[in-house]
Amino acid sequence: MTSAALSGNWDETLIFGAFPVKLSKRTEPHFRMTGNGMLLIATRTASHPQAQFPPLEYVHGDEAVEEVPIGPFGRLYTYTVVHPGKDREPYGLAMVDFEPGVRAFGRLICTDGKVPAINSTMRIVPAELPNGSPDYAFEAVAGESA
């Protein structure tokens, strides 16, 4: 593989090496807005049939990748509120379980400083990464705070 092959966008398929193995980078977004709310996009393959989130980023060979939308509602497995120190606001983090058997990690929205109870029903909501990129977070549906 040359350095030129690695530069720029990786939305093409590369074939390289003495015994060529096709390597593709998926560029599909990891979330989707629908009329029912925000969904996360997990993936699975025939060789690894359990859906995973975050979705596969790189695919070797010609194996088909199936997108598995999860959400918009899940169940809160656990959470914490991080206190990063002076001059920085606390923020929540959560592990949320979705059908079909996928656990997703993300920011937890704590409305009015209230944290949800374990096993609360959570919804996926739009959010931003610290660099401003569009992303997702989790928020308890009304009435599920601890």
Binding site: P54, V81, G85, M95, G106, L129
Partner: protein
């Protein structure tokens, strides 16, 4: 082929030494271990260095001014499990007959980082979204409290116990006595974990052991390594049980089988108490008690010095601090000193069999990426 034995140990103070380098700390531990073993540096055929935070070629940097003669240096980074993984690799080389005498050291200097949690990969999916190590363990604690009805005071009691142990350990220079109330009132880091429930963030240190298949010339009785097991985490994307500590339970089962012993045979344990909840989870994963019973085991006093199975008599990471490259080797040094009857005021009386356990993590999908367990005896 003779059995590889630990024939010398060395350890520096663990504390804040911003004017020192990790190389200087490592040199002190190495020279102490050599002195303890009765060997010279020219007797060492290969060096194994555990280092997690430093720059490249850490072993060579530490050794260059000790004039080693150019023998092989193996640098091993397995996060917090680096030092113990280095011991495992060294034992494999000795058992294969590749070498007869090697030295393993671990080192890290966190003062240079200026504080805060251990740095993790910025490209990691979870870390980009705010994950830090205290938060991961805080989430385990939250879940454990939900499933087993544990009070937060049990977490605080781990911090109190280990600092009481650390007060007896002269290398734990950072350690101060504390009370349950002080632990709970200290600054929140990641709820429910407060500052005094986390190992100190800015601590420097190094530790070293000499291993040999030759007859020992050391000051103290040589120590046998009955088990040395390193495992890696499973890729998990489903609704896994985050309070099971699966990798530690799996590694412990293999280590007990390798050693031909069980948890009931142990005299002491040094485990990876980076956060208070960790030690409770490891009581269960190491087979000291059943699931959900760790708080009761702690409350019984069994895991305190003088109890049935003292855990972290050194004070553990909470009292000593956690320079990650050094921790796995430091745990082995601690157990050796107990087995050899030279652990001073924290001596576990009649210690015959000790276990060390250290994990390494910080990447998504593999909750604990590494775990190393050693079982030692005379």
């Amino acid at each position: 082929m003779n059995e590889p034995m630990i024939v010398g140990v060395g350890i520096t103070d663990f504390g804040r030494f911003p004017d020192l380098t990790e190389e200087a700390l490592a040199q002190s531990a190495i020279l102490e271990a050599l002195s303890d073993s009765g060997l010279q540096i020219r007797d060492i055929e290969a060096f194994y260095c555990g280092n997690a935070i430093g720059a490249s070629l850490p072993g060579q940097r530490a050794l260059r001014e000790l004039h080693t003669g150019g023998n092989a240096v193996y640098n091993i980074d397995n996060a917090c499990s680096s030092g113990a993984t280095a011991v495992n690799a060294a034992l494999s080389a000795l058992r294969s007959g590749q070498y007869e005498t090697v030295l393993v050291f671990g080192m890290d200097q966190l003062s240079s980082l200026g504080g805060g949690p251990l740095p993790l990969s910025r490209n990691d999916w979870n870390n980009k979204r705010g994950m830090i190590m205290p938060a991961l363990y805080a989430m385990r604690a939250t879940r454990y409290m939900h499933e087993h009805g544990m009070e937060v005071s049990a977490l605080a009691d781990i911090a109190v116990k280990n600092r009481q142990h650390g007060l007896r350990n002269p290398i734990a220079t950072f350690c101060k006595a504390t009370t349950r109330e002080e632990v709970l009132a200290s600054r929140q880091i990641a709820e429910p974990l407060t500052l005094l429930q986390c190992c100190p963030a800015v601590v420097d240190g190094a530790a070293a052991v000499v291993l040999s298949t030759k007859p020992s010339k050391g000051r103290a009785a040589p120590v046998r390594v009955l088990a040395s097991v390193v495992q890696s985490g499973l890729f998990e994307t489903g609704p896994e049980d985050m309070i099971e500590a699966e990798i530690t339970a799996r590694t412990a089962r293999m280590a007990y089988e390798q050693a031909g012993v069980g948890p009931q045979d142990l005299s002491l344990i040094e485990c990876h108490d980076a956060f208070t909840i960790s030690e409770l989870l490891y009581y269960e994963a190491l087979g000291l008690c059943d699931r959900g019973e760790a708080p009761q085991l702690l409350a019984s006093g069994a895991t305190a010095l003088g109890g049935r199975i003292p855990v972290n008599p050194s004070g553990g990471l909470i009292a000593k601090g956690h320079p990650p490259g050094a921790t796995g080797v430091a745990q082995i040094v601690e157990v050796c000193e107990h087995l050899q009857g030279r652990a001073g005021q924290r001596q576990v009386e009649g210690a015959r069999l000790g276990l060390t356990q250290v994990t390494g993590g910080g990447i998504w999908g593999v909750d604990h990426a590494a775990c190393s367990i050693h079982i030692l005896s005379l």
